[in-house]
Amino acid sequence: MNGDARGWRIALIPDTLINPRDRAAAPLPNVLGVLEASGYGVLQLPPQGEHGLLLAVTADQVAEYAHHGYAVVAIGVRGEPGGGLHWRRLAPLLRHRGVVLPPRYYIRPDLDAAAEEQRFAVFLSGYDLPVDEQRRWRV
């Protein structure tokens, strides 16, 4: 795509990593900063609660990306219910749309934030679609 800067990689992110609830707790890694530096776009998942229609809408978007050469990952938070990913609801919605479930990475709030950022960055930089898939779509 001439002059187009898209990174072709997208991360599903729990609300709590974008909008941390407990500001008094130990700081979480700067997840958005690492994603930005790694060239990933973000699909924000809703906070805890019932969000059936919104999750279906998110699954539609993931399916569209996954079927057209975009790499999608899911980033959870260890210790959050379902990792903050609504996985019990979201996974069947994705399967129903023919999407291979994206690889998941779990942020560990108990670790030093800077070290966790480095570990997270290594995961992000190491993931992409196979080269032949990239060539097929990314022109």
Binding site: A5, G41, V42, L43, Q44, H51, V57, Q61
Partner: protein
Amino acid sequence: MEYAPRKVALIANCLLNQNAKVCEGAHYRGLVNPVVEALRSRGYLLQQLPCPELAFAGVRRWWAVYEQYDTPAYRAHCRRLAQAIAPLIEQYLRRGDDVILIGLDGSPSTGVRFTSSKRDWGGRPNRPDDDWEIVPRRGVWIEELEAELARRGLPPLPATGWALDMGRFDEAGSRRDLEQFLDSRGIVGGSRDDDSAAGEPAAGGPAVP
């Protein structure tokens, strides 16, 4: 314990994910960092809106103008998305949070102050470069989202747009625009009836719809 109202920014999907843009429309790899920084440094929570065009016409869609998306089927699709996100927005507003909307000026769907327009676009996609116009009105998605919030008895949201789709993109000007909007919010002390729709965009010229 008394609830402390929060500042919440509803932001266009592509401001967190440039992969949602139409081909040749992505100016960043992923996040639009100047927008994220401007909002987070002022204490805003972020709430990403769904992308209506991606879910309707796909990632390989053609460029389009307002008139092409102004159809019953697309509006019904936008209403479904609005019904999906509105409960979250309603929750924020009923709690007394200060909620603002940051769209994408020049977009046929997500424009706030401006959208792209050309009455005779259609048919074979071979239009010459730059033959569309920028007009001062909402995009189709923002119209439907606002209508859904109004149906729920919620007040209009203060809103502005990041001028990404106004033609020659001027990041510095867009940042100035956004920061002025956000800082004026601080001055009016949370009033919900100030809408920046009359403001001038940061960049002129034709749009990348």
